[in-house]
């Protein structure tokens, strides 16, 4: 091979090599092309091997040309290789394609009962205010359910609602969780700050607005210097935590034998802010009964009614849940219909 032929070969190999590389349509074809243009048996390698036999001038000149050609081919190879890899991956990805509109795989989801959710929220507000939860039996004796609460046997309040009695003489299903007040005060000296959530019973036919079994959160504070204003402020704090910061509280006189003065407490409507709407009617939502603990009740529990005063309140959990979530039929709470329950998915702690 003479320098002239070498030069021709290099020129031919450039053209042939670039075209082979360009036409390689797979990584295998590209590997073959690489062997063909730059491999040991390639004409390019023959030229390189022949360089040593040329005179220095030609060697230098053709050596530079060969290097330049190798770099050009190498870079064409690299570029083609990248292009082919990209296409390859694209093909693989295409084959991996799924229908992303199909629903996701998930665990079954449970839910808490709306009364649990509401009770937890109410209890949570009071425990954050420093109140402790107390519980008591659902079957109560006459003393804790009535007498100690200033409701002696011939008291007209006993006729206000019908109670369910059990076969154990002197025992009944508690009509209020107020009985827990008595149990707590009998066993603990003031200060007392408690809430008593729980089930209560009434002899009533179940319909859209009545249940024979329902839930209350009863509150009690007994300490030195507790006033009616403390009751109002506490319930205001509670109502704002539950229904929003702008809520106002209104108290009207009402009667419960175990409190004096007693009141019925309404909260300005969270839907209409007190202007009147379908939820509230006249702008106020009647929420609960409350009052200052009757001194007779304190005395019944062995507490010095001159030194200590207190307030108590009882909130119906069903009532709050109904107002809150627009439940129109109370039977929904006790039927266990999944179509009702699933609407509370995700709610609650």
């Amino acid at each position: 091979m003479d320098p002239q032929e070498a030069r021709r070969i290099l020129d031919e190999e450039r053209e042939r090599g670039l075209s082979m590389i360009a036409s390689a349509d797979s990584s295998e074809a590209l590997d073959a092309a690489k062997v063909g243009v730059l491999g040991r048996k390639s004409r390019f390698s023959q030229v390189q091997r022949a360089l040593g036999s040329f005179d220095p001038e030609d060697r230098k000149r053709l050596g530079m040309a060969a290097n330049e050609l190798r770099e050009a081919l190498q870079s064409a190879l690299d570029e083609r290789s990248r292009a082919l890899a990209g296409a390859e991956q694209a093909r693989l990805l295409e084959g991996d394609r799924i229908d992303v509109t199909l629903p996701g795989r998930r665990l079954r989801t449970g839910s808490l009962h709306p009364l649990t959710i509401v009770e937890d929220e109410m209890v949570g507000i009071f425990t954050r205010m420093g109140y402790r939860v107390e519980e008591g039996p659902e079957i109560e004796d006459d003393w804790h359910n009535f007498e100690a609460l200033n409701i002696p046997p011939d008291h007209p309040a006993r006729t206000m609602k019908d109670s369910l009695y059990v076969e154990i003489p002197g025992f009944l299903l508690r009509t209020e969780t107020s009985a827990v007040q008595i149990r707590t005060m009998e066993s603990q000296d003031p200060p007392v700050y408690i809430v008593a959530p729980g089930r209560t019973y009434r002899r009533e036919a179940v319909d859209a607005t009545h249940l024979s079994v329902f839930h209350q959160v009863e509150g009690l504070a007994v300490d030195e210097g507790i006033s009616f204003a403390d009751l109002k402020g506490t319930l205001e704090t509670f109502a704002r935590a539950l229904f929003g910061p702008d809520r106002r509280v209104r108290m009207n006189p009402d009667y419960f034998p175990f409190v004096e003065p007693g009141c019925q407490v309404a909260v300005s409507c969270f839907k209409c802010d007190g202007t009147g709407c379908a939820v509230c009617g006249n702008g106020w939502i009647e929420l609960l009964g409350a009052g200052m603990v009757h001194p007779k009740v304190l005395e019944n529990c062995g507490i010095d009614a001159e030194r200590y005063t207190g307030f108590a309140f009882g909130i119906g959990v069903e009532r709050v849940a109904m107002v809150r979530h627009g439940v129109s039929d109370m039977r929904m709470f006790v039927e266990g219909d999944v179509r009702f329950l699933q609407q509370f998915q995700g709610a609650g702690a």
Binding site: P137, P156, D162
Partner: protein, 792 residues
């Protein structure tokens, strides 16, 4: 209590509208539930004179009346022929409306004759509740006069919810007193001026009380020679609007006076009283009396009877007897006005199951001081409406109790209410309420409690009066300084934890009624249930001994309503009788049925035993119960081959399993139902919330998958327990990852495949060490279960 507003304003002449009155009374504790306007639809009815009454040409029952309301004459068809020419009658011409009819009147043809309007009965006008004849107007009114105007029926009625502590609100005067206190408009007293006869009542009849405790005061007045006519139209309208039935003028007078003053009154026909004399005494056991409602009732010695000198004539404070009942021929009346002890009336009322306007008032407490006032007012009305002579004076036994004196310390009132109250403030409030008081010193106000305020017994009752008069809206808003950290007791928090766990396991919480039926008892196999003595319905005869029956019924309701895949739980109390006392225990139950798979991505399957058990396992883990075991089959109502008791040591934690197919069929549940029930108290006793952290291992594990072939009947749990024991401390985890039977295994064989991680805390285990452990395991399982380690 229904209060007619115009009546109220007779005693407290305020300008306030009905709506304003309602708001004011509600703010003072007499909650107005509704404002009724019974004569709202009474429009266009005028007074007309009957000119002629003649037969309807085409009817035997109807007649035609020619009338004039001062203008043109018109002819109307009338159904009842009780009016005469010259009578005044209410005429509703075309376009007029009346309370009883939904549509305005129009001229229409009745049996071929055009009736130009209608003559009205008292019922159509909303004056009585009974449909009698046409109202013949007794008053001398000009024809053409508007009927509604003439009788002041542009009126409304406040329906007030009276709390049991305020029986004084069961009267017009009582409500007027409250309005007077709130507005400052002075209260008027009822007119009781009497023109008494020379004859003296106490010379005609006698009164004797044999039980002064049950009847501390009894007073009788006598009216002779009464006439018999209906009471005035406006009176009838007011009685009807107040919820009472107008009868005769004399009886209406006693009811009217009672509604006004709150003192129940009872008229006897004097001629039918033996003696004539009244004896108030306890009944003899078994003594009988036919009451005014025609029912013969028997009494006990705890009932109080009003008798004449020979026999009972009334049940004290509840209802009169038929023997001395007023009738159309009664000429002389003995009017009873008495004060009975509350509790006794309540007991009698309950015992005989008869509640009347009188008993309602007596059992809540009446005013002993109103006894003469009520009698005088009724006599005055009888004399006015029925004529007759009111005999001089009264016959009385017993008397009013002395008024209670209760003191108030303004300093105490300030403390309780939460804003400063001075002696003068308090005195002003009592003055407004018409209660006499005396400021004894700066911190002592003594109040004389009027008889009608049965609720005021001690200082705190006066404090309430002060804040009530001043207005609850004046009360400020403060929060007491609570010096403790709030929180929940462990049992309460534990139940919340269980609910959270079950919810995360995909189950929905229900809260069901606590009652159970006889059928539930059989379903649950419940022992020692607690019976409810006065259930409203038969299916609520017991308290539930288990949660499962109620839960299954709830599942059933969902299945019937075509809900797919039902999974429910309840955490609640169950009740049992234990040594004659109630044993209440917190319990937990869950039940699941139907499709368990949720999406296209899972193979379809239904809930079965292992779903319930898996939920239970997660629950036990969340609760921190580390040591528990599976016991024998759970028994009814579970499937004998697909259920188990769950034990923690010796204690029964609960049971898990599929519901027995026969019960599934009886409840028509359609397929397998997996369920569990757990005693929360036992669960909590075995729970631990302690977390003791061990170091995270630094050396790699050696993992070996071992498949053992055992008999199909061999349960997996003891195999795994033996494996762990044989493996010793080096076994870190052991997962049963496959259970398989069929070829190539022989008949009656199954393979249990465990994946075991072996690890030492202080070094990397060698293969030799691992092999030694595997050998130990294989030997143990071979000897104990005949297990064969499969090559793998």
């Amino acid at each position: 209590m229904k209060i007619v507003v115009s009546w109220l304003k007779e005693y407290c002449p305020t300008d306030l509208s009905s709506d304003e009155l309602a708001e004011l009374l509600t703010a003072k504790g007499a909650e107005v539930e509704e404002i009724e306007r019974p004569w709202d639809r009474l429009k266009g009815v005028v007074v007309a004179r009957v000119l002629e009454v003649r037969d309807h040409p085409n009817s035997d029952t109807l007649c035609l009346a020619r009338v004039t309301a001062g203008d043109a004459e018109r002819e109307v068809v009338v159904g009842v022929r009780n009016m005469m020419p010259g009578d005044l009658v209410p005429l509703a011409g075309p376009g007029a409306t009346v309370p009883a009819l939904p549509e305005p009147l129009s001229a229409r043809k009745i049996r071929g004759v055009v009736s130009d309007g209608m003559l009205c009965s008292p019922w159509e006008l909303g004056i009585t509740t009974e449909h009698t004849g046409i109202l013949v107007i007794p008053d001398d009114l000009q024809p053409g006069t508007d009927f509604k105007q003439a009788y002041g029926l542009d009126d409304s009625v406040l329906d007030i919810e009276v709390t049991p502590n305020r029986p004084d609100f069961l009267s017009v005067i009582g409500i007027a007193r409250e309005v007077a206190a709130a507005t400052g408009v002075p209260l008027r007293v009822p007119d009781v001026a009497l023109d008494e006869d020379d004859e003296k009542a106490d010379e005609v009849a006698t009164v004797e009380i044999l039980d002064l405790e049950r009847c501390p005061r009894y007073l009788a007045r006598i009216v002779r020679g009464i006439g018999h006519s209906p009471s005035p139209i406006r009176v009838q309208a007011r009685l009807t609007a107040s919820g009472m039935r107008p009868l005769s003028a004399a009886v209406d007078a006693t009811n009217y006076a009672m509604l006004e003053i709150g003192q129940p009154l009872h008229p006897f026909d004097l001629a039918r009283l033996k003696g004539p004399g009244i004896v108030v005494r306890p009944a003899n056991d078994g003594e009988r009396l036919v009451t005014l409602d025609g029912v013969e009732r028997a009494f006990t010695s705890d009932d109080l009877l009003i008798c004449d000198t020979e026999r009972p004539v009334a049940v004290a404070g509840v209802m009169g007897g038929a023997v001395a009942e007023m009738s159309g021929s009664t000429a002389d009346v003995l009017l009873e006005s008495a004060w009975f002890e509350r509790g006794g009336i309540q007991r009698t009322r309950r015992r005989i199951g008869l509640s009347t306007e009188a008993s309602t008032r007596f059992e809540r407490g009446t005013d002993p001081e109103a006894v003469p006032l009520g009698a005088d007012r009724a006599c005055r009305l009888i004399a006015e409406w029925c004529g007759g002579r009111v005999l001089a004076g009264s016959v009385e036994a017993g008397g009013a109790a002395e008024r209670r004196r209760v003191s108030l310390r303004p300093s105490r009132a300030s403390l309780v209410i939460g804003y400063p109250v001075s002696a003068a403030d308090a005195a002003r409030a009592f003055d407004r309420l018409g209660m006499a008081c005396e400021v004894e010193d700066q911190d002592l106000v003594a109040v004389e409690v009027p008889g009608y305020r049965v609720d005021i017994e001690r200082e705190v009752d006066l404090i309430e009066e002060v804040v009530r008069v001043q207005g609850y809206e004046r009360v400020g808003s403060t929060v007491p300084p609570v010096r403790q950290v709030g929180g929940v007791p462990p049992a309460y928090g534990f139940r919340a934890l269980l609910r959270g766990s079950l919810r995360r396991s995909g189950i929905r919480e229900v809260r069901l009624l606590s009652f159970a039926s006889q059928e539930d008892m059989e379903m649950a196999g419940g022992d020692d249930p607690i019976r409810i003595t006065n259930p409203l319905q038969a299916d609520e005869a017991f308290l539930r001994t288990r949660l499962l029956p109620g839960l299954l019924r709830s599942v059933q309701r969902n299945v019937y309503r075509h809900v797919r895949g039902v999974a429910l739980f309840e955490v609640g109390t169950v009740f049992r009788m234990k040594d004659g006392a109630a044993d209440e225990r917190p319990s937990l139950a869950l039940a699941m049925t139907g499709p368990a798979s949720q999406t296209w991505a899972e193979p379809p399957r239904s809930f079965d035993f292992f779903d319930a058990k898996g939920v239970l396992e997660a629950l036990l883990e969340d609760a921190g119960v580390r040591h528990w075991s599976v016991g024998p089959p759970a028994g009814w109502p579970f499937h004998p081959g697909r259920s188990a008791a769950i034990l923690a040591g010796e204690d029964a934690l609960g049971m898990v399993g599929e519901i027995h197919p026969s019960l599934v069929e009886r409840l028509d549940l359609g397929g397998r139902v997996a369920a569990a029930e757990v005693d929360v108290q036992v669960l909590m006793a075995h729970a631990s919330s302690e977390i003791e952290v061990r170091d995270v291992p630094r050396f790699p594990p050696v993992r070996r998958d071992l498949a053992f072939v055992v008999d199909t009947a061999t349960p997996a749990a003891p195999v795994q327990a033996a494996l762990l024991e044989a493996g010793g401390d080096l076994i870190e985890t052991c997962l049963l990852f496959d259970v398989f039977s069929g070829p190539p295994l022989g008949q009656g064989k199954k393979s249990l495949a465990f994946s075991i991680d072996l690890r030492a805390p202080d070094r990397t285990l060698t293969d030799e060490e691992a092999d030694a452990v595997v050998r130990r395991i294989a030997e143990r399982l071979a000897s104990e279960f005949g297990a064969e380690l499969r090559a793998g």
